[in-house]
Symmetry: C2
Subunit: 509 residues, 2 copies
């Protein structure tokens, strides 16, 4: 006979930590830093505050790495602190709204990893806004029961009215292997968050990004599910929670995104349901049919993008300019779209020349909900799109200095794994990414055409100018006109010819 037992979520992820990105000592350092930095950014910008993030890495004896991240975000209340750091699958981000974190796993995985490699608890210091006290705690995880163990809790007066969170972890990890990735990660984070101050210090690590803008992207709102994205389980749960006397029409308008009474009745008619039927009287078979019909109905409004927080063309271009220092950059924020009821927005930037390194292929910078994605590029949807584009159409000849930046914002980014490194090739997403890249690339082509013409004109100017003196002398000799006058006329004539060719001197924005 088999012996059965229940695993707690902590134990599951403790046993299978590689699934969440903690697969080796180098990756663990990178992943820990990433989780802490992303929480720090979310703690500020999701609440309308300009992020201030400070990362410190110190090496200790026996390959131990001390990682500290400080932010000046909204802070965390002492009541939530133990669970937020010591309980897997406990979080505040299980709502329909774009944020970096979604799995309720990240920081707890880092805490678990610290615990199993050095046995040391996480140290947290935090104060919420306008609070009179600062709380500092050391928290470990009871793996078998998935409960926090508070090892120490201290309170002090918050004289300076500071708010924010400081998290400190000691893990066993490979800093020398991780350093390059961490540096790249911080750079890319700065690229996608030009409104943040981000400072990173550690052995052979010194990065200081001061914000180039004080404009925050719009704060995302918490939304309702879209009727297209419904499933039987969600529907059953919502019906269970519905008012006893709710009709189907009322149920639909109350619970779903963008459904008014007219749309609700139109849908019911199309689907063969009585709009006045009490929703609680639906059988499981009817609920199933309802779900199928809701997924199939063409008459719903598109999901509202108010739950999303795209960066915007201006900020994206600014971020790219700041970090890559290209000669040319252009950005596109595509109109909102959706897949399976999940709203999304794709943003793309294309940059060229300047500080971008020469390469045989376009350099791809991928972002999802403002998270830089560094691993598993080969299986990402953006890579798929970049690879199938014939760049010669856009006048790019390789080796070249071309960078493509893609940013997917969604309440549900279709990540391929809990490690959040690659985005799956959902068709709707793929075509938006392609449209964005092509739009930017057409602008790049215009720029490159202008540059080409400019180069030609310069060449012609140089060639022709060589003869100006001689021609002016000859003309002066023949006509008796002043040589200098003739010379300046000739130069004017050349300039006019060049501008006739419509060659501008301005650079791309």
């Amino acid at each position: 006979m088999e012996r059965f037992r229940q695993l707690s979520p902590s134990e599951f992820f403790y046993r299978n930590r590689e699934i969440a990105g903690f697969s080796n000592p180098a990756r663990a350092v990178y992943q820990t830093i990433r989780e802490l930095v992303e929480n720090a950014l979310d703690a500020a910008e999701t609440h309308g505050l300009l992020p201030e993030v400070r990362l410190n890495v110190e090496l200790e004896a026996d390959g131990k790495v001390r990682i500290r991240v400080e932010d000046e975000g909204v802070g965390i209340s002492p009541l939530e602190m133990p669970n937020a750091f010591g309980r897997v699958l406990y979080g505040s981000k299980y709502v329909l709204r774009q944020s970096r974190g979604v799995f309720g796993l990240g920081v707890k995985m880092a805490v678990l990893y610290a615990q199993l490699t050095t046995g040391q608890p996480v140290k947290v210091r935090s104060s919420v806004r306008r609070a009179s006290f600062v709380y500092e705690a050391e928290i470990a995880i009871d793996v078998e029961r998935n409960l926090p163990i508070v090892k120490r809790l201290e309170v002090e007066r918050n004289e300076s009215r500071w708010h924010g969170t400081v998290v400190e972890l000691v893990i066993r990890g490979d800093w020398s292997q991780a350093r390059g990735r961490v540096e790249e990660y911080i750079k890319r984070t700065a690229m996608i968050a030009p409104y943040a101050n981000i400072f990173a210090y550690g052995p052979q690590l010194l990065l200081e990004f001061n914000r180039s803008s004080t404009k925050l992207p719009p704060t995302p709102a918490v939304g309702k599910p879209h009727p297209r994205g419904v499933d039987v389980e969600l529907l059953r749960k919502l019906i269970e929670e519905a008012n006893k006397n709710s009709t189907l029409e009322e149920f639909l308008t109350e619970n779903f995104d963008g459904v008014g009474p007219i749309t609700a009745r139109k849908f019911c008619e199309w689907a063969g349901f009585d709009a006045n039927k009490k929703v609680r009287s639906l059988t499981i078979d009817e609920i199933e049919t309802l779900a199928v019909k809701m997924q199939a109905f063409e008459g719903w409004r598109r999901p509202k993008p108010s739950t999303l927080s795209p960066l915007g063309e201006e900020l994206l271009a600014k971020g790219v300019k700041e970090v890559l220092k290209p000669d040319f950059v252009t950005a596109v924020s595509r109109p909102p779209s959706s897949y399976a009821g999940h709203p999304f927005i794709v943003e793309v930037a294309v940059a060229y020349g300047g500080g971008i390194p020469l390469s045989e292929e376009p350099l791809l910078y991928r972002f999802a909900n403002r998270i830089p994605l560094l691993y598993d590029e080969g299986v990402d949807v953006s890579m798929k799109v970049v690879k199938r584009i014939d760049w010669s159409v856009y006048k790019v000849k390789f080796p070249s200095q071309l960078a493509v930046v893609t940013h997917v914002c969604s309440t549900k980014v279709p990540f391929k794994g809990v490690g959040k490194e690659a985005v799956a090739d959902v068709p709707e997403l793929e075509s938006e990414i392609e449209a964005g890249i092509r739009e930017c690339s057409r602008r790049l082509r215009s720029y490159l055409s202008r540059m080409e013409k400019l180069m030609e004109a310069r060449k012609w100017e140089i060639t022709v100018s060589k003869y100006v003196d001689e021609v002016a002398s000859s003309l002066s000799y023949v006509s008796g006109e002043d040589k200098e006058l003739l010379r300046s006329k000739l130069l004017e004539f050349i300039k006019a010819k060049i501008s006739e060719r419509g060659v501008p001197y301005a650079k791309g924005r």
Copy 2:
């Protein structure tokens, strides 16, 4: 202020089902079948029974797919039935022993998926060995509380003394897209389990694999953890559970694989620990040091492979022969090895010619703990190895009919995700796979050399034989000897010449 809440494991995987392979309607069909078939095989062979697996797929209205898998395995007790099918992260496979399932997720994910796409519970019918009753139940999952809901339970007399399990699920899925993958999956499963009867029936699906062997691979034993694979968390837990008066020496010998008193004392001396110290008196810092030293100590014995169940060279070659029908096949079972304290064995087969389709690259068949891996080939360690091999060294010229089969057995296969599709490139594993492929390939080269010589000899024989009649006539005319006698002498002479060249006629095993 943020609103926090706890997700149950069910809810987590319900929200993130793509992580477990349920990413689209086609993949969901494939994944469901896979989970059920793998459980069916485990239910027999892990307990020394020859597997009998029968898959039935039926299409119903509205894109619903009814999937039924029957086995004649050990069955499941009615007491465990609700939890085994209706509770995520509940299972019997959380022990140190090779088995197909490990995550305690598979079948529950399928049940969840059925529930959210059709609202229908799983139907289970089972009887354990020598039981007087058969139990049939319908089970749903209370997602928010991660608890089973038993919708119906019936009992009947087990007149025929049947034992086994029948599982039936109705999911919404795309059969026409999934069919090809399912067929390939079943074929590969038959390849790696030549001792199983596997029958699969469905729309445009008819596969019947009768076992070609009644020899089961060795049943794996449940093992202890290896000292090298220890972490602070595990150590802390084991110490907590240890006898109050246990010394460090006793603790090490009792709890770890292959540690006797001599090794334990040798380790303690090397690590600077007192072997007679009470283990419960260790501080957390000492436990941390102990863990680090245990991971680093070179003097441990290798992990015991008794927890593993490799197929063996003979069975593997048989399975490959049965399914691919090649001209040549050879298999290698490498000696046990380990990474980070986890024992593993790599098995490799190389097959050539016959029924193998012509291709520009070697066809790779990947298996892990007898699970065929069909997706994400590009990021698998076996692919990495196959790609870097220069096949011309082994006399293979592409396009060719070459198949490479790799099988990794381990108590902990380093999968890249919960979907169990790709194996990570752990160095120890990589070098074993390479050694296995090279060993097989050298045998393939000998075979191909023999074939080459054989072809040359045949050509020579044909050319020379053309002149035998004429030469015999002429010799007979000159010498007066009997023409027929001369002819047979000449033919004998040719044969002798050929065998002088050492050309055998036998095929590879």
